[in-house]
Amino acid sequence: MNNNQDIDKLFEAARRREADQRRQQQLSDMIDRLAEGERKAESGKRKAKGGLFWTYAGIAASILLLASVGLHILSQNSTSPSQQQLVAGTKPHPTTAVDSTAGIPATQTDVVVPVLKPHTSPILAQSKTPAEVQSPESRQDEIEEKETAIETATVLPDEPLFAEETENGNRGTENETNISHPTSPIVYERTSSRLVCGSGCRPEVRPSQEDSPRFAFTNISSTGTTIGIGTSAF
């Protein structure tokens, strides 16, 4: 190998070294770009995952909100008349929410949740206590009291018990028998809807008014003849 060849070989080696250095720098830059691209891709994936999570969370929250609003509307539309009288601010107690017979208002306990308003008459709810409300027994006693009063009533006829005397001295119609009848107060006994006098008369009882027990009656003799018509007050 002569000197020229040696010099060419040296320069060739130098050129190769220069080219390798240049090429290695290019490869290093390429690796940097690859790493940067991977980092961006990873960060994009993370952002996409995060965005997807918040998207799903927003959708779920919207669905829950719509469902709650829908249930609220449905519950308002499907309530009974008593439930429609909801009063905000209280909620019904599970056992003592409303006493409709006694008219006790619902206890106002907790807040926010609507509660049943007592479905009773305002008068009953305000003026009467359960003890004051008339029970069926007391009503029966009152009825029996009234019946006893009727039975023991002394009828003092305001009008003559007998028909006026006719011209021939008879009372009533011509067919009627002129019978004597005690002028003393007649005590009538009540049998069902009739009053029967002590002399056997069976006056018809016709209650004129419910509040003022004044009866119109007809005296009927034992033979079935009407002997007088009048009214009586107990």
Binding site: N4, L10, A19, D20, I31, A35
Partner: protein, 182 residues
């Protein structure tokens, strides 16, 4: 040549893979032997650069596995070798003969790379002993392969002076090489 030993496997479990810095530190310097091997096999510098670049991209994609590789240089050269064979087979599919492929062993490649590095280092040493204008003119002319007009503008010299300077520098190098041989 991915040889796995039990000790290496346990070690690789601790390793989290080769990061960017380690990759540049251990893999990028292997470009020279890879490029040399590819040039020798393909006979074309541009194709060799393409092959080496593809191999580097593949190495980067599997950088997590590189910690388990015992001999990184042999592993990288084998990748270059296989890719060169694939490229040759594509080029010469109809007239493919194994004889046409210049197989170089890893040792041969390493020796040639070392020889190149030594020659480049010797040239640097010889150039350092020359005057600055001669050194710069020689480097631009034969290493950087610049044309004479570029050297004239860079050294602020006429074309005749550039030619004279380069001739004197070459003669000095020949003398020095002759001295080294003796």
């Amino acid at each position: 040549m991915c040889k796995k030993s039990p000790a290496r496997s346990s070690y690789s479990q601790i390793q989290t893979g080769m990061d960017q810095t380690k990759f540049k530190e251990h893999i990028i310097p292997l470009q020279s032997p890879m490029q040399l091997l590819a040039e020798r096999m393909l006979g074309d510098v541009a194709d060799a650069e393409d092959v080496v670049q593809d191999v580097f991209v593949a190495l980067w994609s599997r950088r997590d596995e590189l910690d388990r590789v015992v001999k990184l240089d042999s592993y990288c050269l084998q990748m270059v070798r296989l890719r060169c064979i694939d490229l040759i087979r594509k080029r010469k599919r109809d007239a493919f003969h194994n004889e046409q492929i210049a197989y170089l062993s890893d040792k041969e490649v390493t020796m040639q790379v070392e020889e190149t590095r030594n020659d480049a280092a010797l040239l640097d040493h010889l150039l350092d002993e020359l005057p600055e204008k001669q050194r710069r003119a020689l480097r631009m002319k034969y290493v950087e392969e610049r044309d004479t007009q570029y050297i004239e503008q860079a050294l602020q010299m006429s074309s005749n002076n550039v030619y004279t300077t380069i001739s004197r520098a070459i003669q000095s190098l020949k003398d020095k090489i002759k001295t080294l041989k003796i």
